[in-house]
Point group: C2
Chain length 336, copies 2
């Protein structure tokens, strides 16, 4: 069925360049930044917040793009669809993704807003608080959906953040429909608890009807089902989709499927926790690399934990070390 | 004499954004990059080399700009003159310098080449090999020389790299003349052994007639005086300028003045050596902060070593920790 697949995973998401700076909690309060979440901001607010920020470093980000970089680092074949502008930061984004080994050729936006930026403020507790100006990424549209590539991917991975703009949301649903029509698998990440709040009904519909694999952290899954009871959320997720990967930070992850729910331990960051940016993105990379290669669910979650542990041990949302090597070191290399 | 100074140090240099990636030695050979040096490249070569580079991080650089960020981090008043383009990387450069506390308002270039980029390839031995596309920075010109600001700085610091373009070189010499006319002090860094090779006669003239403080590493000073004998170079430097700071990596620095030559120990990077980019720039920052505050020469060199040790303990050419705090921890806080 999937023997003719050219890609293990194809990701669709907001194409964003991260601007990372270290601040203290007082800076977050003084500048009205919600700690730990992702807030959408307009260009004026982005300019004002950037002015207030300390010296920063730029690196490519975007949730699903980070995930594709992770899949490639594990040795998987990855493809990405997302929109940058025809500007310097757009060139940086495209370079970094291609240099990571990800197939990426969505046409850059010629006229219109600039490439999306996410201002990431990292506090001494390693938490990241994100303020995103969507810019060109929100102009991702139907025309950018490459049906041929989606049909060639074992799994199409969709980022919940895309729901924040109407046009991107339509493209998103279309991608899911194409994948389903070609008997491919569809995965979704809920992205962020605030994002779930904004789009709860759409997400529930999608999870029930289109999604094979659901990725969510604890607050996101509780928000999706409007409950404070994690066990209840687990049961609801099990009824709604084939497999759900529910991540709980240092408490590990819970894999929910028709076989029940199993807990998989987290992997400790080495040498230490520095910046939690990208943890969920890289967990999904590891898990989907495993799923695409038909590994047992517990192994998939373990691969996710290894990838997440690498990315939280340094600044930036993409792996700096070879995830394939880390997986091999952990005894998870695939036996041919 | 200097009581009316608004700035401790004013730096003039090529305004550059660094693009930093990790590679192995084979990559340097395969792409004809000279290890350890700085090579000037044109826009086509920059595009080709960037295409070949792994995923990278962008951060503000430029030798004298790094030095000014260091002066500010030590608690000094710093000002910078240099040219970026009116583009995204130019905005990044301006933001990072201002956010570091450095006065910077050179008008960005409206039409012409884009903001300068330096592709920095860091090898596992922590050496950096730089390929620079000068772009807008080479359009720094007479009009950009702010005589009022130069007159208001105790020390005007000039970067040898500016000599690589004729127009910038003229502006450079004019800055030195203005400083001298206002009885201010002039400092020069030779920047790079290849740079010295390109401009030996001009540098010698400048050192003999305009320079109070000379900064050079061992290979640069040997190249300036075309000798293989370090002691001979020391004597020549002593004859030519008021004070020379000659840096020798982990062997420390030699301060040469009318009082003789004294060796000051290096400070070990904590916890480890990661990337030597910015070592010389930050040594100059510490030394000039001391000079501007009339500290003894050995203390100036010690401050330089502290600043250099900080910047080589992480990726990127600007300090991430407060240098004022590190100086205080080392018992070098100024007693009022």
């Amino acid at each position: 069925m999937t023997n003719d697949a050219r890609y293990d995973v194809l990701g669709v998401g907001n194409a964003i360049v991260d601007v990372i700076g270290s601040v203290d909690d007082a800076f977050l309060s003084a500048n009205d930044v919600a700690k730990g979440g992702m807030t959408l901001i307009d260009e004026d607010r982005a300019a004002a917040l950037y002015d207030a920020m300390p010296p920063s470093q730029e690196s490519s980000g975007g949730s699903a793009a980070n995930t594709m970089a992770g899949v490639a680092s594990l040795g998987g074949k990855a493809c990405y669809l997302g929109k940058v502008a025809d500007d310097q930061l757009g060139q940086v984004f495209a370079h970094d993704l291609r240099a990571a080994g990800v197939d990426f050729d969505t046409a850059p936006l010629k006229d219109g807003p600039s490439t999306a930026r996410c201002l990431i403020l990292v506090t001494p507790d390693a938490q990241r608080s994100m303020s995103t100006f969507l810019g060109a990424s929100a102009m991702f549209a139907d025309d950018d959906i490459d049906a041929d590539k989606i049909g060639a991917a074992k799994i199409t991975y969709l980022e919940g953040y895309l729901f924040d703009r109407e046009e991107a949301k339509r493209a998103f649903v279309r991608a899911a429909e194409i994948a389903a029509a070609k008997s491919r698998r569809v995965a979704l990440t809920l992205s962020d608890a605030f994002c779930v709040d904004r789009h709860r009904d759409s997400f529930r519909h999608l999870v029930q009807h289109h999604v094979d694999y659901l990725f969510a952290n604890e607050t996101e899954i509780l928000s999706l089902y409007e409950t404070e009871n994690f066990e209840e959320a687990v049961e609801r997720a099990r009824a709604d989709c084939r497999t759900a990967f529910l991540t709980r930070s240092e408490k590990g992850s819970v894999v929910v499927s028709s076989e029940g729910a199993q807990t998989v331990d987290a992997v400790a960051p080495d040498p230490a926790l520095v910046d939690t940016t990208g943890a969920g993105d890289l967990f999904a990379a590891g898990a989907m690399f495993g799923l695409a290669n038909e590994r047992p669910l517990a192994v998939c979650a373990h691969l996710g934990s290894i990838a997440a542990a690498e990315v939280i041990s340094h600044y930036g949302a993409r792996p700096l070390r070879s995830l394939a090597q880390l997986a091999e070191d952990a005894g998870l290399a695939e036996t041919a």
